[in-house]
Symmetry: C2
Subunit: 581 residues, 2 copies
Amino acid sequence: MSKILRVNMTDLTAKYEDVPEKYKNWGGRGLTSFITLEEVPPTCHPLGPNNKVTLAPGMVTGTPAPSSGRISVGGKSPLTGTIKETNAGTPFSQHLARLGIKAVVVEGQPKENGKFWLLKVDKEGAELLPADEYVGKGLYEVYPALFDRFGKKAAIMGIGVAGEMKMAMAGVCFNDIDGRPSRYSGRGGMGAVLGSKGLKFIVADDTGGPGVDIADKDLFDTGRKKLTEALRTHGVTKEGGGLNTYGTAVLINILNEAGGLPTRNFSSGEFEGASKISGEAIAEGVKQRGGAGTMGHPCHPGCIIQCSNIWPKPDGTEHVSVIEYESDWALGANCGIDDLDVIAELIWLCNDYGLDTIESGGTIAVAMEGGLAEFGDGQKAIELMHEIGKGTPLGRILGQGAAFTGKALGVVRVPGVKGQNMPAYAPRAIKGIGVTYATTPMGADHTAGYTIGPEIMSVGGKVDPLEVEGKAEISRNLQAATAFLDSTGYCLFTAFAIMDIPEGLEGMVETCNAVLGTKWTVDDVGEIGKEVLKRERAFNEAAGFTKADDRLPEFMYYEPLPPHNTVWDVPDEMLDQVWEL
Amino acid sequence: MSKILRVNMTDLTAKYEDVPEKYKNWGGRGLTSFITLEEVPPTCHPLGPNNKVTLAPGMVTGTPAPSSGRISVGGKSPLTGTIKETNAGTPFSQHLARLGIKAVVVEGQPKENGKFWLLKVDKEGAELLPADEYVGKGLYEVYPALFDRFGKKAAIMGIGVAGEMKMAMAGVCFNDIDGRPSRYSGRGGMGAVLGSKGLKFIVADDTGGPGVDIADKDLFDTGRKKLTEALRTHGVTKEGGGLNTYGTAVLINILNEAGGLPTRNFSSGEFEGASKISGEAIAEGVKQRGGAGTMGHPCHPGCIIQCSNIWPKPDGTEHVSVIEYESDWALGANCGIDDLDVIAELIWLCNDYGLDTIESGGTIAVAMEGGLAEFGDGQKAIELMHEIGKGTPLGRILGQGAAFTGKALGVVRVPGVKGQNMPAYAPRAIKGIGVTYATTPMGADHTAGYTIGPEIMSVGGKVDPLEVEGKAEISRNLQAATAFLDSTGYCLFTAFAIMDIPEGLEGMVETCNAVLGTKWTVDDVGEIGKEVLKRERAFNEAAGFTKADDRLPEFMYYEPLPPHNTVWDVPDEMLDQVWEL
């Protein structure tokens, strides 16, 4: 029987509770959003004592289901003020699940400010230990020390100095398969919420744990095989496919050719340096430099897509893992930077300080527009990152994200929604993703309804990215399907295969049924997702969000984006139709 | 026939337009809010090209009506995101009115950033002149230079360096009767909006102007005399009364005794240093030091209340005008500072840099709570003000106000509503003013519905400040009456007399009828005010504000305030009842 582990930071207790009936069939995002809606007052201060952080592995996480090692982190976001779910792929999720933990709920706040704690969870139970010795240090220094102390078999959730300083772009860090602090639930500043609660680490070790109960093992194997087959067949996800060969940055050239790669703070959809930072360039650099350089690296055991990478320095020693498409774009094209070694260093700093790479890149771009550096000045970008890490006054501005930085510097062109900066797809050139940015309960977020599939990649259909018509429906359907997917523990990239190969989706649903004992069909997926979305929207509505918040920033309505020279012209009424569920 | 002067900062034109019929019976706040609702897209960026700033003298401003020299400044606020009206008493309002100008509407935005302009308005017309020579300088240096250039008879609206830097606590400055840059439409950052439009000054000279048409001169005289009599009779407003003798800071001791004087960032309602910064102490200091020291100073010609003052240095030379109650409290008690000379210097810096004193004090208090200085450290407070004026990174944080500073520093205890810091009355000890803070369309604002009259001063009734019951109705009625009053051009302090002396209100309404040709009765006042409030709320609703925004900050719900040790316990439902108009 799995449990909920409730960690109270006011009285420093960690207690196991039975899982209430209503939560039993939920996992991942579905569970974090459910608990957040039930337990967090929507109008509470995100960094006050009444917010809570919930961590939940997906429904099938911890089983042998392929590419299912996601963990969701949820609560009220200090960046957006909305409900937030942000997930990552990491062995940590599997450890929690195999320890029989359906969710960790972190609540309360120590009376004394500036003290930090570490939660140790293993088969013996859970306890809070002082963590002050790790405060103020980079995560690349601290993670090895923690593995030395708790053993290499453990898995670690952590926050960096950004989270300690309660910065709104502080992410929640997890280790990768080799122990690096490199897998992030980055978006929305949930690291700051953990910082406000004084919880710096969770160290989980599933050794001797009960594992994940599977109600119907035969059904599970049937489903697992179908899904595995689909993933191994689809061009995007198969071995030697686009993601495996070039990593997610395979999208750089594709988006650039589509005129939808946001460049220099979303002032163009084309970057003249795109080819130098593309997935192809990464693969070539890895090959040429050799040494530690690796493509096709998995973020957690059991991933069969393996889209991660390790970028080597010129001498072949390791620089950073991972140059992800979003990070590459955010700290590259969006800042006018075309040097992979600079981008690698910026990503390393994000990992070390505990920052969301997307918001970091968006923030540096806004700072550049505000005159703090020239676009393309990589060394100055690195200096700005250090300001954040040091917590200087300038760093305190930047660490709060792009919207905050724009306000401090009087920059009007801030490309965000609900306070969260947009990711790597230009909505004036790709209308559907703009609909998702505008309407997802999460603030501007591409993963919430990845219309890039049909709009750019011809996956799950094929539609014109510049066309407005029909995009509300596409976004809505994808948002619903994604809310389900984010609850399962499966990686979002399984979506490519299940959208195009019906047996893949069947298999996915069968694995969920096999674990949970449910009787869902593929036709239930959308409705289950809508349940999640309804809860998230209920939270946001009670927190004071309205249709007026479901809009792109004003400047996109009047400033044409080269090369298509199109403005944002999706009618407000169409955006509102998304939520006529 | 009065006109609207439309100033377009995109093409640098200033043109007179006829006043549309719908605006004819409006002035002051009623007019600025009407024009803002009609012309400003509620979801626009406050510092973008689509926001507008409207300046409007009141209905009777420019006539011999007593204490009627207010000017309203309206638009969308960069501090709150709401509609904003903020008014000041100054000869400038009278100049505009006597030039036949019902409103100045400033719109558009220069393509080139960092260029500034000066609008010159006189009987010959209106023209824009370059103002770059005044950029980056303190207003105490610039105002004399402008009077030298344009003549002592002129009146000047200006923004300081804070407005140039688009800081959200930048106010709009006006000269007092002696030409000092000391009368402020301070709240809500309207100085930043003017800064975003590149309009640094308006110089108005009514010499040879047409004056204000009075439709019925006999009725006007009748009304004027009734109101004058009421003002000269009421204990608060009469010559030698509380305001005239001690200035507005007469409230320091009164609020302190009531346990409602917010101290050290609203952590207590009692300040041990209150008597040292009280109105009585100011009057005593003025008397003892002599020289330039003055009590009973009027802010504009024709004011018969005369509550302003000039604070002298120890040697009798002028330090600053004016130590207003709100400024005295904000930069004094709320920062734990009990030294009038330090407070005078902080006010001088606000005037010089172009900052709202209330938000400045609130911000320094939050910065103190965030560890940037000890409460009570006046010299450090002065240094922080200089950071703002210099526009250092720290200054860029502070200049955006208390909520922004709280976010940058991770301070949860930020006593604001809708992003605007609370003024000098503790809502946990005085419930009615908390209802006004929560529900006014303006963000936390005492002037919007000054329940302190009945709750503390026994004016307009007498109710227990700690009692919850009935406060929604009191606040609603006062908010409506105030929306009317803010439209007339009369000073808010006339409210004391008209609430207690029926003939005073009669006289006020008669003067309005006499000028406008309307047939209002005293019974219409509330309805006229409600029309204004409905427009303001319509703007806010379209901008995305909901009931969730009509709340006090969360910490006031769980943290008791000494000495009464009461929390904020007005039910949300009661707050929502305020707007069942």
